[in-house]
Each structure stands twice: as structure tokens, then as C-alpha cells.
Symmetry: C2
Subunit: 142 residues, 2 copies
DNA sequence: TAATTACCTATTGACATGGTAGGTAATGCG
DNA sequence: CGCATTACCTACCATGTCAATAGGTAATTA
């Protein structure tokens, strides 16, 4: 298993914010009520999204969070890389991994590398706007 | 990160056994010496592979492990599903997961489902025989 | 001033991972 | 037979992450 609750919650919150983007700043209390996730846990995630400029947070009454861009300008890959730390399928491909001695002779590295590219390209091809449609954007629901 | 050392070690051992498939039963001591992994840890993995019929183990002097099939008859996906337990990118797609209440309305499920298919199909398209070639079988090294 | 809301720091319990320890059982060889 | 060799078994351990909770502080509005 690759994507943890942290990343999945982040996506769901972002979609929820996108669906209410015309309502000004949305308090987390509302989002959490709709999405049925732990408020205290989501708070941590929001700090991450906020510090990295994906959303803007405003304190106090009438405050909450708001998207900083239109939904079609958020790639799923970007959000997941931020919340998960990496999307690499194996440790040796993680950003900042110590170089592997065996890399040159490794029989499996090309496979991992190609898998990494596939996953990254796929998740970068989808935006929050795509996820607002139930079918994920291509009309085909599995 | 999706594939742990357990799965990566399993693949490396299987490749090593494939490369020495004409030498009869190969003791783990030899494989571990070549692959530079923990013998005690690999022992656990071998029991799993053996119990599931991927390899055959023979006790005593002159014993060791041997592949039960030709290398081209092992799909990487099969080995990884066995050692990792699942290849699903999210918990709700794991085999035996409790059904999610939100599935019907879930905005992200189609995406996860498609990603799951992509990963599975890719890893099932590669065999141990492919991995014995340095380039992974398509002549293109990233 | 009070209510509301984001944000901060610390802690927790559960679990998986990677590995070690110390055996037992089977097999071949001298 | 006895010994070395090898797979296999059970148990344990250290570390880290995950998901969540607790208990605040700071900013903002009414």
C-alpha cells in the first residue's frame, strides 16, 4: 500500500474546498463534517498545504481555508508528493536517497524506474477539477 | 514507498536462482554472499516462496533452493503480491478490505482503481527472464 | 469581551519493517 | 554411525510511521 490516509484526506479536503470555492473561506469544521474525518488530524495536513501555498488560511470568525488556484491548476501528483513525501515505488528512487552501490549492475532498477515514471505521469495527468467529476474525467467508471 | 525490502529481496533471490538454475540446488549462503543481504531475514522470505510452490527447498549437504519453473514463467507481479501481501495503492482496494460506505459517491475511487490496474498490468508483464537481461527486456535503460 | 478559527507542540497506541537469536529436522559424506 | 550442512521453525527486539488525541496560543470578527 502506497498512499496513506494523509494523502487521501488531503485530496478529499482539496476537492471539498473546490466544490465550495465560491463560498469564501471554508472552516475546517464544515469540511470535516462533510468528509467524516478526524478534525485534529486534518489540521496537521492543512498546515502543510498552507505552508506550501496550495491553500490560504484565515484565522478567526468568518475564517477558514480557500484554494489559491482554480481546481484545474492542481495536479493530484503535486498534492500527493507533498503529503506523502514521495511517490517513488522503492526507497532507492526516493528524492534524496543515498546512491546505491549496485545501481549500475542492478537487474531491477530499470523496472522500478519505469514504474516510477508511469505512476508519476498518471497522477500528474489528473487535476482536482477532474476529480470533481464522479468519473475521474474520462467517462469510464470501473 | 510501496515495495519494501522483502519484495525486493525476493526478486533478487529469484533472479540469482535463475542465473544459476543449471547448478542444481543452490544454498542460500551462496545467494546471500552474492546479493549482500541478511541471511536470517532472507530465510523467512524463502519459506514463503517455498510454501507457495515458487521454489523447492532441499535440506542437508548438497541442498539449497531451486526454481520450480523456467524463469519466463514467473511474473514479477506474482512474486511481489505474495511477498508484499498486496500491490494495491490504497487500502480500500486491498483484497479483503472492508467495503467502504463512500465507495459509490467517492470522487477518487476511479482514479485509484485505474492506478491499481496500471501497476498490476505492468508488473505482470515482466518476468524473471526479462530481469535477467540488464535492460529489463525492452532495450531501453533510463 | 467573547466567540471563532487557524495554528503550534507534545504525546500516544497500534502496527509493520528489518533483523537477530537459538533452536530442530532432514540429508549427504567420510 | 557421527558429523557437517542445510532448510525450516518460533520467538523476540529495535526502530519508525501512521493516525489520532490533548491542550494549548494567536489572530480575527461581532
Amino acid at each position: 500500500m502506497m498512499i496513506s490516509s494523509r494523502g487521501r484526506y488531503a485530496l478529499r479536503v482539496m476537492i471539498d474546498l473546490a466544490e465550495h470555492q465560491n463560498d469564501g473561506f471554508i472552516p475546517m469544521k464544515d469540511v470535516v463534517g462533510r468528509q467524516d474525518v478526524s478534525q485534529k488530524y486534518v489540521e496537521h495536513i492543512m498546515v502543510l498545504l498552507s505552508k506550501n501555498g496550495l491553500v490560504e488560511g484565515v484565522h478567526g470568525k468568518g475564517g477558514g481555508y480557500r484554494l489559491n488556484r482554480p481546481p484545474e491548476a492542481y495536479r493530484v501528483g503535486e498534492i500527493l508528493r507533498l503529503t506523502e513525501g514521495t511517490l517513488a515505488p522503492v526507497a532507492c528512487l526516493e528524492c534524496g536517497a543515498k546512491p546505491c552501490q549496485r545501481a549500475a549492475a542492478c537487474r531491477t532498477l530499470p523496472m522500478w524506474s519505469r514504474l516510477d515514471h508511469m505512476i508519476g505521469e498518471y497522477l500528474d495527468s489528473i487535476t482536482i477539477a477532474d476529480l470533481m467529476k464522479q468519473d475521474g474525467g474520462d467517462g469510464y467508471v470501473i
